[in-house]
Amino acid sequence: MTARMIDKVWTGIFYAVAAAVIGLLIFFFAVVLSKGAGFWQPEFLFGRPSNTQAGGGIGPQLINSFYMLVVTLLLSVPLSLGAGIYLAEYAKQGRIVGFIRLCLETMASLPSIVVGLFGLLAFVTLTGWGYTLLGGALAVTIINLPGLTRICETAILDVPSNIKEGSLALGATRWQTLVKAVLPAAIPQIVTGVILSAGRIFGEAAVFIYTAGLTTPMLRWDADWGSQANPLNVFRPAETLTVHIWKLNSEGIVPDAKLIAAKSAAVLMVAVLLFNLAARLASSLLARYFSGGRRARPGRGERSKAA
């Protein structure tokens, strides 16, 4: 074979591989959505699960998953923003930063089951809380922290330095510059990153088995604040949707366990799709808001033309 023939053959192979991967994703979605058809019915999405009879829903698990997401983001966004600011702005390059980065790398590469087991030691046993939603949120924050810190750091570093210099030249302090000039410019990137990491928290499972537990108390919205039945109480066990699927597969005794697992998987797939779309939408909207705002009002100088 001549070199040109070989080149053509390989080009063909590359196209085939790429097409196969796209086909695979389509196949996954087709299987999940067809086997889990009917997942959109309200009585499934918001219904009570049943232990022995067919036809139960996933209401509490869905609530738990979303509530877990909210609590985790409340914990991890400020922390990783702070850490990102520290790494991007304040930390002197050298041994200390090198060590922090090594810790971040270590954290990022820990298997989620190991973090879950650490959560079992620290947030379940040592604190004496037992399996709680808060314990789950703290543990998954550990998983989430390195990625989100990285995103915040890069977003801050990507802000053109003339924005920062301009603010500093006007006599602003570093913190003022950061909050009033740098962060607004970094926000589109940070928001996209947060939404994508939200998708990952939503799909996380191994870490919750030993921190948030495999059960959910009967939830009542009219329950007392301190009661385990109050959905907003963070000190209660909280089985998430992902853990529910896993449990149905390994020890489900409901007669329609397979169908519930399929429908729950479909809910998760749709959630993944929505999180990705939201991230895309947010990044394009925010980018337009921060750059296109100038374009919308003509005659504001050279930059509007350049944009």
Partner: protein, 298 residues
């Protein structure tokens, strides 16, 4: 005058508070990491300090029989299982990932790349239990038909994992390839090479370090994945006799047994030792990545 003073003081107070917050967050990362390592190490060595196991029994014996008399806690099956399943996944995944990375950087037209990128993002986004569920509902019955037996097998675990790590390796390899200067490609064309010759003999060797990093990342991810593997691998405590035979991994036995054991018992201690082994192996991967990875900055 007085007003200006307070204004200035507030400003410095703000700077001070903000800075302190950032520094605390930075150090919190160190604190969490160190605490995790200490906690897991303390729990993990109890097998040797409290329940009197020997390190060699733990690592080299394939007899895991916590209910036997005397109980045995050899972890070899799980270590071998984890290694086989992640290396197998790598064998399938790495070539495909490299092909995708090359395709995206040098061959695909723009519209194809803009189709492929979201596809890879979605593949990353699919939760691991959904991969496990897909394995149980599609792959396992298929295996049962082809090989007989239960269908839960090493091969099922390998295939499920290879799909999960594909996007990870692809994106790191694609970045590595994108960092190769265009001049290399041009020089190669200038010498009369075809595109494939340029890619295979110039570009890929130049990006070797970055590609290797991607591969190790993929391996590390495969090693630590728990639920998807646990759902399809069968979890029988024996060394696999072939690709179609069920076995168990470090993560799968941890997932299943931790809740069934009582804190402080030898069985429980042995499980914590498995967790420590998992931790040490992920340290090993970090060290490898630091060694093979491309030099940063420059």
């Amino acid at each position: 005058m007085q007003q200006m003073h307070t204004k200035r003081r507030n400003r410095w107070l703000e700077e001070y508070i903000g800075r302190t917050f950032a520094v605390i967050c930075g150090w919190l990362i160190v604190l969490i990491t160190v605490t995790m390592i200490i906690f897991l190490a303390v729990k993990g060595i109890q097998s040797f300090t409290d329940s009197g196991l020997s390190l060699s029994d733990m690592l080299l014996s394939a007899q895991w029989d916590p209910n036997g008399t005397p109980p045995k806690y050899g972890a070899l099956i799980f270590i071998v299982g984890s290694m086989l399943v992640s290396l197998g996944a790598l064998l399938i995944s790495a070539p495909i990932a490299l092909a995708l990375a090359i395709f995206m950087n040098f061959i695909a037209p723009k519209w194809f790349v803009s189709l492929l990128k979201p596809v890879l993002e979605l593949l990353v986004g699919i939760p691991s239990v959904v991969y496990g569920w897909l394995g149980v509902t599609i792959l396992v019955p298929l295996m049962r038909e082809w090989f007989g037996g239960s269908g839960f097998s090493l091969l099922a675990g390998i295939i499920v994992l290879s799909m999960m790590i594909l996007p990870t390796i692809t994106s790191i390899a694609a970045d590595a390839l994108a960092n190769v200067p265009m001049a290399y490609m041009e020089a190669s064309y200038g010498l009369g090479s075809t595109r494939w010759q340029a890619i295979s003999r110039v570009i890929v060797p130049a990006a070797k370090a970055g590609i290797a990093t991607g591969v190790v990342f993929g391996l590390a991810r495969a090693f630590g994945e728990a639920l998807a593997v646990q759902m399809v691998i069968g979890n029988t405590i024996k060394l696999p006799s072939g690709l179609d035979s069920p076995t168990a991994t470090l993560t799968s036995v941890l997932t299943m047994d931790m809740a069934n054991t009582i804190n402080g018992t030898p069985w429980n201690n042995a499980l914590w030792t498995l967790a420590l082994i998992l931790l040490l192996i992920s340290f090993f991967f970090i060290a490898v990545i630091r060694l093979v990875g491309p030099r940063k900055e420059g």
